[in-house]
Symmetry: D3
Subunit: 114 residues, 6 copies
Amino acid sequence: MNKNKEFNEYRSRMNQRLLDSENKIIKRIFNLDTNAFLDGALNSNTKELIGLTTSLVLKCDDCVAYHLGKCYELHFSTEEILEALSVATLVGGTIVIPHLRKAIEYWDELNSDV
Amino acid sequence: MNKNKEFNEYRSRMNQRLLDSENKIIKRIFNLDTNAFLDGALNSNTKELIGLTTSLVLKCDDCVAYHLGKCYELHFSTEEILEALSVATLVGGTIVIPHLRKAIEYWDELNSDV
Amino acid sequence: MNKNKEFNEYRSRMNQRLLDSENKIIKRIFNLDTNAFLDGALNSNTKELIGLTTSLVLKCDDCVAYHLGKCYELHFSTEEILEALSVATLVGGTIVIPHLRKAIEYWDELNSDV
Amino acid sequence: MNKNKEFNEYRSRMNQRLLDSENKIIKRIFNLDTNAFLDGALNSNTKELIGLTTSLVLKCDDCVAYHLGKCYELHFSTEEILEALSVATLVGGTIVIPHLRKAIEYWDELNSDV
Amino acid sequence: MNKNKEFNEYRSRMNQRLLDSENKIIKRIFNLDTNAFLDGALNSNTKELIGLTTSLVLKCDDCVAYHLGKCYELHFSTEEILEALSVATLVGGTIVIPHLRKAIEYWDELNSDV
Amino acid sequence: MNKNKEFNEYRSRMNQRLLDSENKIIKRIFNLDTNAFLDGALNSNTKELIGLTTSLVLKCDDCVAYHLGKCYELHFSTEEILEALSVATLVGGTIVIPHLRKAIEYWDELNSDV
């Protein structure tokens, strides 16, 4: 099982564990998280870039991986992804670079899956 | 002098002070900051939204104000701005709300200037 | 008008502005924020201390002020508040101290209002 | 050796390495860290929840694991732990969710040890 | 009263308020904070630069002001201060720039006092 | 292959991947990152300590490892490194301790390589 499949499997399993707990706050945050990225005044493409870059500056590798997966489904080019990530790196500083390395590694793996 | 004029005046004056210092790192960061938001693989509209939302989750009021000014020049609607800010608030948590209040106050002031 | 009245007035006015915008994500985050601090498996006293201390380590003065207001209504003693704030300062480091100073100033003002 | 035993063993070994170094600041921070969570104006149960939730919003998996271990010894219920974690997730945003997943996984493992 | 005198007066008064509270954790953190910056394996000059730059990347204006005051007493040149601040800005990203503006403004005021 | 060799190999390979992408912002940030730590108004020794401690308070293990490698080449003593790390831990709080444990583990490994 490759890295992104493994990540998605773990993510799904633990999300289900959390949803099964019947904690209402968690349920509603998860529900809100799904709705927030749907087309609205801004389209979902733009919103995914917002999700991706805010995740990067907050140095959340798993969130970056999740949004990269979504961006892949939305057919972003590598140039577009790198440009979004580069702006976020400038905003967040060189401290972001280790997360940038993981991001591009994950992106390349998504694109090499056949 | 209203709030956004005052902010811009202070910002310009202190940026000039920093650039006059001949510190090369600062000069180059400032220069990079200008270039990063120009049209490229992503257009400048998308990049300003990235600048705006990464600034919000990092709770930088002055950076938010700067990017709101740019977004205003690019003719974003209030609905679009609110949607971008709302996604960032979800990502960054309720801790972002005080900065969201300042952001919408600043945006409304920009839009009420004639 | 004293400092905490001024803060509450601004907070209420801008929250109303945001709610009037009809942005659904913001509406739902605000609603969730109210519900999350009600009695549940943990009582609201404990939850307010969690709200207070997480706000302090995230260096959000306005959030700290809001939760201090709630803690005041719940009749916490100054010793209890200081102990909660001191644990958060240890967790968050000396960088938290400026926010600790503002917190105790706000708390003292709440307690001196007759 | 399961995950939490491995974590505790590494933690103890490296803490000893740091204490053996005779660096006074580190020694005193460690000592303070022990004392801060003892019963005082607030009881140690409440303080552990503060330690847990401030650690979660600051996205420190190891700190969360440490406080979950303490909470387990203090016989908190899963409902109480989830409620504390859910409030912290709301405060800290969806960026906290990956750490929430690890937290509940660690908690479940603590509870499945016989 | 100029800005840095006002800041120092407020800082001293509120620190005293906190110390008078007899909260032991706070007392010990304050005591540790004083001791940590004394000459040791590293001299106090180097430690003040560490205090200054860690404060800047953590975006704590008051902490930056405090350490700038100490650096002023230690006769650092403006070139040295700017270089330390520029490295920290690169590490922490453009989000740090608003705090860099306040830092240089405060430093210039310290140097213009006769 | 030991831990620090593995880290350096991964770091070099992914940095090369990023530089090969021809994204100008990333290229220039990387270039700036190299130049910022050269001797200037402050010597490179002092700058590496700034890089190390700002990385620690921002909880970036990989950045800490990178700067520890540089500090090792510059012949810092373990006492000096521990003192720098201890000041940063005080500034950043107990939340930094897990990263302090990894830092000293990495430093010890650097020093045990023959």
